[in-house]
Symmetry: C2
Subunit: 663 residues, 2 copies
C-alpha cells in the first residue's frame, strides 16, 4: 500500500489543533507575524539572490543590511527578544545581530548588578550598542580554565587593564566581532595586586560608536571563510588586547565584586560561571529539532515527486521514490526523532526559563546542577541527531541533493557546527557520565530528576519482560526496559572502566547518547500520556511517531557500539527489527502526510528548489539552478578565446619539438 | 605511555621501503614528478588565493587556467593519462579537463571501432577537442533504462537526429559541459524506422571549435553552485537537444552497429553497456582511500600540537589532544581503514586494467561480471567509509576544523558526493545482494571469486572458535569467523526477506557493507601473508594496521544494525571491545608516527592551515585565516556609516512614535 500523500507545499503557515500542539501556540503566533513581515520585504527574499555564487564579502553585506532592517522591524513592532531571535533563524543567515540577545544581553541580565543593568540593558535592547561575547581563545576552547587573557586591576586609576599575553590567548571565533560589534563581554582572568582570582566577565568597548573604528589597543581581524560556505552572515573575529583600559564599573559584578580599594568579594557560588553556557544550550535544546524537520519536509516533498525504477516489472509507471524502504527507513525515523527533539526540547527550555526568571528575582540556583545536566545532555544528543540527520536527508535525495539550491548544503553547514561549538560534544558530553558516576557513588541520584533512573542500577535482580512477538515491542514497559537495560549496562561498564583507570573519553559518548535516548523517550512518553487524557484527534499520529522514535533508537542506535549493550536473543533481535519496520510502515501509510501537513513549513522556510509551491522540482532545478546561473550563456565569454587557443597548443608543441629535433 | 610522534610536516615526498610499499613504486614516482612541476608553478599555488572567499565564477576561472597549464605540461613532459589524472587530483580542484581521460577517452577506446578510434582518439589525446560524457538526465539517474533522450536514424541523410523530448530528459550534472566541452558522448535511445533499440552512445559536437559558441540546436546552461561550495572547478551542465544532427559514423559502433541501409546489428553481449561505469568505479576503488588519508594526516599533526585540559590534575602542562581515547579511537580506525582501501583498492584496479587491456585485444569479457561486482562493492564500501570518515576527521578537530583554511570542508565536499554519483550507494549497492542471491540459488558462487565465501552458507554446522580472552580476537581465524558469521546471518536474513516479499532496499545496505568488510579483510590478510614471506622491517606496523582494521569494523560497524547480526555473549562483546582498544593503543604508541611518516604527505598535498611545514597551526590560522581576510581592516569600511546610523534608529523611531502619540 502506498503512503497517503499531500504534496502541496504551503505558501502560508498551516492551521489546526495538531499544528498548534507541535509548534506551541506562542511560537506559532510569533512565526506567523514574522513570515508576514518577511515575505513582503524584498531584503529578506531567498530567491532574488543566489548567495552561494557570491563572493563572501558580498554575501555578508546582504546579511548586514538584513540585520539593520530586522532592528527597524523590532523597534517598529516592539518584537520581544524571543521573537527577534526567531526572526533571525528564519533568515537562515545567522545575522551579525544574532549574539545581541542570545548571549550578550542574557549575560548582562544575569551577571550585572541592578545599577549596572540600569545603564547597559536599555542600550543593548535598543541596539545603541552592538554586543558580542568573547570567551573562546585560539588555544582554549572547551577548557575555560585555560583562558590566558588577563584583566589586571589598576587601583590608582580605578580601571581594569585587559591584555592578551600570547598568540594562543587571541580571542578567536568571536561571533559578530570581525566587523559589527562595538562592545564585547570579555572573559578574562582577574588579577588584583598580583593575585589571580580566576575568570570573570568584563564589558569592553572595542569600536568607536561614531565611526566604527577600533578603540585604542584593540586589534581585530575578521576570521575568514568557514567550511561548507557556512555562516555566511557571521563576521567571526580574532581579537587581541594591548593594555586596553575599562572603568572598574564595567566588570560584571552581580556575583563576584571588586571594590574601590581592590578588595575582592568572591561569589557565593561558583556555579554561576557556567550559567551563560546553560542558557545557550537551553536555546539549542529547543531549536535543533526544527533544524532537522525542515530537510525532512523537503525530502518528503521531493521523494513523493521523484520516480525511479519499478518495484515490480508489471507496473506501468516508475515507482515513487518515497515508496522504497531505503527512503522510508531513513526518513521516517528522522521525522520521529526530530519531533521528540522539538516536543521534549520545548519542555526543557520552558522549565529553564521559569528557573532563570525566579533565579534573577530570588537568587535561588538550587536547581542549576540539574538544568546544567539536562541542557548539556540535550545539547549533545540533539545536535548529534540533527546535524547528521540533515546530511542523511541530503544523501537520500541522490545527486540533486548536492545542488546548492536544494538547500541541504546550507542547512547542514549551519547545523553540524553545533556538535563542536558551545563545547565539543565529546568533551562536554563527559559531564553526563561524570554526574552519573558521582551521584551513583554518593547514592544521591534521587536529588536530580534527570538521574533518578539510576536507582534501577541498585536493584540486584532486574526482571526482563517477556518479548516473544513483534507486538511486544510496542508495549511501553518493554521499550522502557530495553532503553534502561542498555543504559544500565553502559553505566556499569563506565564504572568498571573508571575504576580500572581507563580513558573513558571515547566510550562515554555512547553512554551520553543512550542517556539521551532514555531521557527523550521518557519525556515523549509523558507527553503522550497527557495527550491520552484529552482524546485529541491527533493522538494516533503522535503515538505512531512515539513508537517509531523508541524502536528506531533501539534498532539503529546513534552509536554503533550501543547495540552490544542490549543483550537480546537472535529471535528478539529479529522481532525488534520487524517491529521497527512495522512502526515505520504504519507511520508512512497512515500518518506521514498529516504530520508533514501539520508542521506545515512554508516554501519560504524550506527555501529549496525541491519544494516550491508553484513549481515542480525538476522545473525549479532547471530554471533556478541552470538557466539563472551567472556562468550560463556568455557569462564566461571572456574565457572563450583562451579555450579555443588551448585546443591549438598541441600543434605548437609539436612544432617546437620538431624544431628541436632538426637542430 | 604517550604515542611516539614526529610532527615534522614534509615539504618533499618521503622516501623508503615502507613508503614505496604503501604508494606502489609507479604511483610514487608519478607523484614526485607532479609535485616538482606544481610547487614551482604559481598557477597551482594553494596559498596565494583563498578560493572559498571568491565569487564562484572567479574560482572556476582559476580552475580553467590551471586546466590549460596542465595540458601544456602534459604535452611538454609527455605525461601518461594516469599521470595527468593524478595531477588533476593533486590540484584538489576537479578541473574541467577531468572527464577527458577518466570517462571520455576511455569510452572512445572501449566502444569505438578501430576505424573510428583512428580518427577520434588522437584528437582527444592531444586536447584538440574537449570531451564530456552525457548520461544522467534531470529525471533519470541510477536507472539508465529510464533515459528519454532519443537518437533517430535518418536514412535519407545517413544521420542520427538527437532530441530531448521532455524537461525530465534534459541531460543534467554533465561534468565540464556548462562552459568547457566541445564534444560529448551522449547516451540516447536508438530509434530506427520507429523501432526502439535501447541506449547507445553518440559522439556529438556541442560547441564550435573556433569560437566556443553552441552548435545549432544545442541548448546548454551551467548548473549553478553545489552544496558545501563543492567542485568549484567543475562547470557541470544542463543540456537539451533540438533536432541535433550527427553523421552515422559518430555512433560508437564497436559492439552494436547501424549499417548504411538502417540495419541494426545487435551487440554480442549486453554487458558492454555497463563497461564505462565499471571503469570509473575501478578508478574510485583505487583513489578513495587517499581522500581519507589526507584528513587523517592533518588530524594527526594538529592533535599532536593542540593541548587541552589535564588528564591527571598533577601534570604541569595540558594534555596533548592526540593522547585522549576520544581522538585515538576515532582517528586510528580511520587510518587503518583508509590503508585497507588503498592497498586492496590498488589490487582491484590493477586486475581490472589487466582485464581491460586483454579485453580490448581479444574481446574476452568473461570476467566482466566478477569485476562489475568487485568494483560496485568497492565503490559503495570505500565511498561510505571515506566520505563520512573525512567529516569525522573535521569534527575531531573541534571548532578550528570548521575554518575553511583547515581544509576539511573542501575535502568533505569533494569526497562525500561520491556516495551518490556513479550510482547512489543505496541503489547500486543492491547489485551485491542481488548477485549473492542469484548465485546462492543457482549454486554457482564458485564461478565468482568475490562470492566464494557463500559456500560456507551451505555448511549446515558452522563451528564457532573458542573466544575467551581479548588475545583470541587477534587470531585471523577468529576475525574471519566473526566477519563471515555476520555476513552469513545477513545473507540468510536477506533470503528470508526476499522470499517473504519484503522491500529489502534499506536492509541490504548493511549487507553490502558487511560484504565489503569481509572482502577487504580478506584482501588485506593476503597482502599481510605475502609480506610475512619477505621479512620487511615494516611488517609490524602493517600487521598492527590490519588488526585495527579487523577489530574496528567488528566492534564499531559501518552500519549500526550490523552488530545484532553477530551473536556474541556479553563476555565476548567485552573481550572484543578490550581487544579493539588494545589494538588501537598499540598502533598509537608504537607505529602511528612511522605510518604517517611513511605516507609522508607534503604540506602541498594536505593544504591545511593546521599542517604547514614552516608554521604552527595557531600561527597559520591567525595569519592566513584572520589577518589575510578580505573583510579585515577597512575591507568593509563602506558599510561603517550604515552601522553607525543603525545605532541611532531607536531615537528616530521613538520620536516617530512620540509624534504619532501627540496627534
Amino acid at each position: 500500500m502506498a503512503p497517503s500523500r499531500n504534496r502541496k507545499i504551503p505558501k502560508e503557515p498551516a492551521e489546526g489543533d495538531f499544528t498548534l500542539f507541535l509548534w506551541g501556540p506562542e511560537k506559532f503566533a510569533r512565526r506567523e507575524s514574522i513570515l508576514k513581515a518577511f515575505t513582503t520585504n524584498p531584503i529578506f527574499s531567498k530567491t532574488s539572490v543566489i548567495l552561494p555564487s557570491l563572493a563572501r564579502k558580498d554575501a555578508w553585506t546582504r546579511a548586514a543590511h538584513q540585520a539593520r532592517e530586522l532592528i527597524r522591524l523590532k523597534l517598529q513592532h516592539n518584537w520581544s527578544h524571543t521573537q527577534f531571535m526567531e526572526a533571525i533563524r528564519l533568515t537562515d543567515n545567522m545575522l551579525p545581530v544574532q549574539p545581541q540577545f542570545r548571549i550578550f544581553l542574557s549575560n548582562l541580565e544575569r551577571q550585572m548588578t541592578d545599577e549596572q543593568k540600569a545603564i547597559w540593558v536599555p542600550k543593548a535592547e535598543r541596539f545603541e550598542i552592538f554586543g558580542s561575547y568573547a570567551q573562546t581563545e585560539l588555544g582554549h576552547g572547551s577548557n575555560v580554565r585555560g583562558i590566558e587573557t588577563t584583566a589586571t586591576f589598576d587601583r590608582q586609576r580605578d580601571e581594569f587593564v585587559i591584555e592578551s599575553p600570547t598568540l594562543s590567548s587571541t580571542k578567536y571565533w568571536i561571533g559578530t566581532t570581525g566587523v559589527w560589534a562595538t562592545h564585547s563581554i570579555v572573559v578574562a582572568m582577574l588579577i588584583i595586586a598580583g593575585k589571580d582570582h580566576g575568570n570573570h566577565l568584563f564589558l569592553t568597548q572595542i569600536r568607536e560608536l561614531e565611526t566604527q573604528r577600533l578603540m585604542p589597543g584593540v586589534e581585530i581581524y575578521e576570521l575568514g571563510p568557514k567550511a561548507f560556505q557556512g555562516m555566511l552572515g557571521t563576521d567571526n573575529g580574532a581579537m587581541r588586547f594591548h593594555g586596553v583600559r575599562i572603568p572598574r564599573e564595567q566588570m560584571l559584578m552581580r556575583n563576584a565584586r571588586v571594590e574601590r580599594d581592590g578588595t575582592y568579594v568572591a561569589p557565593k557560588n561558583e556555579k554561576h560561571s557556567y550559567g551563560s553556557m546553560v542558557t545557550v544550550r537551553a536555546i539549542m535544546a529547543e531549536s535543533t529539532g526544527w533544524d532537522l524537520l525542515k530537510p525532512v519536509a523537503v525530502v518528503y516533498y521531493y521523494t513523493s515527486y521523484r520516480k525511479q525504477f519499478r518495484k515490480n516489472k508489471e507496473q506501468e509507471e516508475e515507482t515513487t521514490v518515497l515508496d522504497y524502504a531505503s527512503v522510508q527507513h531513513r526518513l521516517i525515523p528522522l521525522l520521529a526523532q526530530a519531533t521528540a527533539l522539538v516536543l521534549v526540547g520545548q519542555r526543557i527550555k520552558k522549565a529553564y526559563d521559569a528557573y532563570t526568571a525566579n533565579y534573577i528575582k530570588t537568587g535561588d540556583f538550587s536547581q542549576l546542577e540539574d538544568f546544567h545536566l539536562q541542557t548539556v545532555g540535550a545539547k549533545v544528543y540533539s545536535t548529534e541527531i540533527a546535524g547528521h540527520g540533515v546530511e542523511t536527508c541530503r544523501i537520500m535525495c541522490g545527486g540533486h541533493g548536492y545542488h546548492a539550491l536544494s538547500g541541504f548544503g546550507r542547512m547542514y553547514a549551519n547545523a553540524i557546527n553545533a556538535v563542536t561549538y558551545e563545547g565539543d560534544n565529546y568533551v562536554v558530553g563527559q559531564q553526563v557520565p561524570r554526574a552519573i558516576l558521582k551521584h551513583w557513588q554518593n547514592g544521591t541520584e534521587a536529588e536530580l530528576p534527570t538521574l533518578s533512573y539510576l536507582s534501577r542500577l541498585r536493584e540486584t535482580e532486574r526482571e526482563a519482560p517477556r518479548i516473544e512477538s513483534l507486538k511486544d515491542w510496542f508495549k511501553p514497559e518493554v521499550q522502557r526496559w530495553a532503553l534502561e537495560e542498555r543504559l544500565v549496562n553502559l553505566v556499569q561498564q563506565h564504572i568498571e572502566d573508571t575504576s580500572a583507570g581507563r580513558d573513558t573519553s571515547y566510550a562515554c559518548h555512547a553512554l551520553t547518547m543512550a542517556h539521551g535516548d532514555f531521557v527523550y523517550w521518557k519525556g515523549f512518553y509523558e507527553l503522550l500520556q497527557d495527550l491520552q487524557q484529552s482524546s485529541k484527534p491527533f493522538l494516533e499520529p503522535v503515538a505512531s511517531l512515539f513508537n517509531v522514535f523508541a524502536l528506531s533508537v533501539l534498532q539503529v542506535p546513534h552509536h554503533a557500539t550501543l547495540a552490544a549493550a542490549l543483550p537480546l536473543s537472535q529471535a528478539q533481535h529479529k522481532t525488534l527489527r520487524l517491529a521497527k519496520s512495522a512502526a515505520v510502515e504504519e507511520l508512512a501509510e497512515k500518518h506521514l502526510s498529516d504530520v508533514i501537513a501539520a508542521y506545515g513549513f512554508t516554501e519560504y522556510e524550506l527555501d529549496s528548489a525541491l519544494a516550491r509551491s508553484d513549481k515542480e522540482p525538476y522545473g525549479a532545478l532547471f530554471e533556478e539552478g541552470a538557466v539563472r546561473s551567472e556562468m550560463s550563456g556568455d557569462g564566461m565569454a571572456h574565457l572563450w578565446p583562451m579555450m579555443v587557443d588551448t585546443r591549438q597548443m598541441w600543434r605548437r608543441s609539436r612544432e617546437e619539438r620538431g624544431g628541436k629535433a632538426r637542430l
